[in-house]
Symmetry: C2
Subunit: 322 residues, 2 copies
């Protein structure tokens, strides 16, 4: 989803911060249809964790690589081997393929990590020096990838930036197997006139960014001055901290009581156990100082969903707490 | 060195905290001679990172595994591939071999990590929630191993404890390729009537434990109640924080001016650059609360070296700052 939105944005802009794009290569495990673009777009499909595939991807020496691919949290927890193979080995194979090009090749690598690298117990707001103690295999794999990104960057093999994305909300399209799916589902489904299940209590607090904000993070990371990062190459992105209850009140402000009545509470012990270990709030001051910008409120997150996904022009919302 | 001292201690004690030992298997990349022991000792040699070797080691289902093997920091920095192969892949292969035994097999795994998982900039004393941001490939590999240890323990594949050992001082025997080698050399060589090089300024502060204290940590980790660890399976061990200047003054108190005159300052830019990124001081309160005990002072560290390595009974030292 992020990959699709990113390529659509690059196609629409025609370049990156004013620099013309020569060619865009979209790689995924299944072939994706390319967006119409004012530059050449090539699509390829393969399993990045299969031997030799990463080498093919870097053979043409792209200047900029966005590495977004991952098995989501629920699936990485359900299938231990697959999670490590895709989320750890696939990433390491890509990094090694870049390293082995040698000959002065040193691309910018923008890697999407996750706030799942953090695990409870937490302080009220997690700062930039708080340890990575993940409570899922997915979070473990992302934390390992961050360590590799930093070491390979320090060694000069590439110029890496890791972005710990907040949970993306409202995620468009169908539900996926991420344990965090309900955060989007309880907004997206009611706005589309459909029912949604809420598997956790309304008191659950979490950390969000709209897809539009996430694409903004990626584009900023592609061109920022990485000297300012020093050896700590991964950054917690700024976001909106909101409880499920606050999300629902923002939905009520946006779409009324009828939309809220579409949400049915149906506690799910497995999801609750996973979500309990997740962070709730951050002090992302390093990323803010480096120019990354979050959504203004959860009302804004809903407004952006309606504009970008539902084609609805909405009035500027009243700012709620969320 | 730690492995040898640990097996000698187990042989001398005849058991572990009063539990009789049935069999001790010593594995290394080269065959080691077993210590005389009141229980069966088997020695094996292989490259743990070669396919199938880890499986052989766990085939007899040892109840307790000490995983100490590693390429040291200087070598891991000089040989990128070898460092990752031994320090990351070797460890992961061992962890996976344990996992694949299945059938309720869940040994205690005591893993030696390192304070090299931390990288500057630091607070005055590094607490238990400070991030792992290593500045060497060795530190990166150990930090990754810690993440794997925690995830495999959380999944129930084994019951892991990671110990971030202080720099071991005074390390007996010949110098090795560790960048930290001079910390021991500047004490060990003068006590043996030999010259020693000091490649860093006397103001350099670092964090130390004697070999005797380190063996104490390993034995405690082998039998501690891991429920108290929760999901955070790696602990910074308590130690002695001392500057090189304080070390030298402790040497003077122990062996006089003649010993100190054996130390020749010869700055080495490579070692200084590595050491500059290393931590200086810790607040290891979690480990202390869990019963791990450090040396009392740097004078004690020198006294222990003289007792354990040189067979010298020394009077209780005057306590210096170091």
């Amino acid at each position: 989803m992020i990959g699709r939105k990113l390529s659509e944005r690059l196609a629409k802009d025609g370049g990156l911060h004013g620099d013309k794009i020569g060619e865009l290569v979209l790689h995924d495990v299944v072939e994706r249809s390319p967006p119409p673009a004012p530059f050449k777009v090539k699509t390829t499909a393969s399993d990045l964790s299969a031997p030799g595939e990463a080498e093919k991807l870097v053979a043409e020496r792209p200047e900029l690589i966005f590495h977004l691919a991952a098995i989501v949290s629920g699936e990485a927890e359900a299938d231990f081997d697959k999670g490590y193979r895709i989320n750890l080995d696939g990433t390491r194979l890509l990094f090694d393929a870049i390293r082995k090009v040698g000959d002065g090749y040193r691309p910018r690598v923008v890697f999407t990590s996750s706030i799942a690298v953090f695990g409870a117990p937490f302080p009220d707001a997690i700062g930039d020096e708080f340890l990575s103690a993940p409570l899922t295999s997915y979070g473990t794999q992302k934390a390992i990838d961050e360590l590799l990104l930093a070491d390979y960057s320090r060694r000069g093999f590439f110029d890496g930036v890791g972005l710990r994305l907040p949970t993306i909300c409202v995620r468009p399209g169908k539900p996926n197997r991420a344990a965090s799916g309900f955060f989007s589902g309880t907004i997206r489904e009611p706005l589309a006139g459909q029912d949604a299940l809420l598997p956790v209590p309304k008191s659950v607090r979490h950390w969000f960014a709209s897809p539009r904000a996430a694409i903004g993070f990626l584009l900023h990371a592609a061109r920022m001055d990485t000297v300012q990062l020093g050896a700590r190459r991964s950054l917690t992105m700024p976001g909106v901290s909101a409880t499920v209850g606050e999300q629902i009140e923002a939905l009520r402000r946006a779409a009324g009581d009828a939309a809220v009545r579409r949400i049915r509470e149906e506690p799910d012990a497995t999801i609750m156990r996973i979500v309990e270990g997740w962070p709730r709030n951050f002090d992302a001051r390093r990323a803010v100082a480096l120019g990354f910008r979050a959504d203004a409120s959860f009302d804004d997150i809903i407004r952006i969903h309606r504009e970008d996904e539902l084609g609805q022009k909405t009035p500027a919302p009243q700012r709620g707490r969320g």
